[in-house]
Symmetry: C2
Subunit: 333 residues, 2 copies
């Protein structure tokens, strides 16, 4: 990597606030770093920028590979920048690696948005724990807001629990599905229905239109059944095609309507406040557990305890007591 | 409470293994106690009994108030004891209180099972954190198995996250629903569909038969849509009426079939091993967080930090760092 001048925290603050894309990129790299000195600077940077965050529509988006997520983001994002929005696209992909690169936030798959001066695309941070990726993505989201982006799309491919993580950091969570052969919906996953605010049956074009519309119809009935009539919002099921450029206006209007209704109910602020609190406690929990697992005494006893628990000879409660004691043993308690 | 002779750990071990109901009740009271000395004895008791656990079918059951859960358990339980099973019924109800009493595990609502010598019914432990109630219920389940019960029903009314807790400690999770006016299903909750292994539309009797069967039909279609055709088990939707004594054989056969298929796939053991591991780590996490929250330095700083995070002026990452530092400050780290 070529040597670049070191930027002071003030340089970063000023640059991000000015919307300088290069400096925003450097700031994001800083929060992605796990180096202790970088964490200190990242914390100072975020503290200074916090008052300037919160101003974007935070939109979560998930879909299986093949659902056409990149094309949808590219098309929708381009419409939004044409309408004057500044759009950032960031990703949560715990399986990514720096060398391989994530398929998310990949500019080559978002060909128009990738060169749009009003857009900013950032691939997922390098692989790590889901908690680590979540932290870095949340901090990246805050930096993008401080840089003046008013729409931030957070995408994920839905590996493991990444949808939960994305739903927990956004105002609205959009799930992209496609109709397979015989009306079967691809992209449905246990747990996804629970978090989806909007469902989109994508690739509703060409020979696929009938299958897509039938699938959307069935899904609409399933959704209706699963939500009490009294619920403030019943997730709508839309059809769309980024390729044919259909359904995207309806999608954006639906997202806007959701936001208006959420604000009218006070739900928007409530959701964000709850997310901030959960974020704090998630971090506390993650860090405590990380320190426990890396404690030398714990590390030496863990394999035996896990084996004994797995085989059913040691009560999990007893094993837990031993782990806690090992971790806090040489700590004043 | 009348003074009773203190039982030694060996007395408890012997009595539980002999299936002595009075001693089983004392053992359960012991694991429910949070007194440190009792925890020590409880741990010794469970360690001694672990090799004798694991022998029951662990069945989770949830349903909204009014779904007829107690009647169903009473009727199904009585059929089972008549067939030679020894049936224990325990509950997870974080909202219960010792004075008020939980509506779960209430013998007055299970009139036949409550006096059946082959059955044992235990109300939920007193209110506390969901984690605390979960721990005590899991330990109670183990004690019941060590006492020779071969069917253990764990019931919950579905407050907050209690369904997740019950699904995490059982082999199969049954969700009870009822058809409201106009086919609307009562008892559907976001998240419930995700954990249900069997769904039962209950109170399918009298004037309600048509509505119940229509609701079951619609639910069946929704379930089919939400599960890939390739899934090893697609949750069946049954109708039943404990009052009219219909559908209960089918329910028990479905439960049995699920168990057979799970064992054939090796899924039964995998599920239990994973549950034991998760139980251990849940306990470690709960205890670490409990100690953090009760730390005096943390307690003094928390209100300010929570307020700053809630209002958006302090980055959650920074607040988390401060909490961890406060907790581990006077601990060698």
């Amino acid at each position: 990597m070529p040597r670049r001048p070191t930027l002071s925290t003030q340089d970063l603050i000023t640059g991000v606030r000015a919307g300088d894309r290069a400096i925003l990129g450097r700031a994001i790299s800083l929060v992605e770093s796990t180096h202790p000195a970088h964490r200190v600077q990242a914390t100072a940077l975020l503290d200074a920028l916090m008052p300037h965050t919160g101003g974007a529509q935070r939109i979560g988006l998930t879909g299986v590979p093949g659902a056409g997520k990149s094309t949808l983001i590219d098309t929708l994002g381009t419409r939004l920048t044409a309408a004057g929005h500044r759009v950032a696209v960031i990703a949560v992909d715990p399986s990514s690696s720096r060398t391989g690169g994530s398929i998310l936030g990949d500019k080559t798959r978002m060909q128009r948005l990738g060169v749009d001066p009003m857009a900013f695309i950032r691939p997922s941070p390098a692989a790590g724990t889901l908690g680590g990726v979540a932290r870095r993505t949340r901090e990246t989201l805050l930096l993008c807001e401080a840089a003046g982006f008013d729409v931030v799309l957070v995408e994920t491919v839905g590996v493991g629990q990444s949808e939960t993580v994305v739903a927990d950091m956004t105002d609205i969570f959009v799930v992209l599905l496609i109709a397979g052969a015989g009306d079967e919906l691809q992209g449905i996953k246990r747990g996804l229905m629970e978090r989806a605010d909007v469902l989109v049956v994508h690739k509703c074009d060409g020979d696929n239109i009938d299958a897509a519309q039938r699938a959307a119809h069935e899904l609409r009935q399933a959704v209706r059944l699963l939500h009490p009539a009294s619920a403030p919002w019943v997730p709508p099921v839309l059809t769309a095609s980024a390729l044919a450029d259909t359904g995207l206006s309806e999608l954006w209007q639906t997202i806007a309507r959701f936001g208006e209704e959420a604000r009218a109910r006070g739900e928007h602020d409530t959701r964000r406040t709850a997310q901030r609190a959960r974020w704090m406690w998630d971090l506390v929990e993650d860090e405590l557990m990380r320190r426990l697992r890396s404690d030398p005494t714990v590390a030496s006893r863990l394999p035996h305890l896990e084996e004994a628990v797995a085989s059913g000879v040691l009560a999990p409660t007893h094993a837990a007591e031993q782990l806690i004691a090992a971790f806090l043993a040489d700590r004043q308690d």
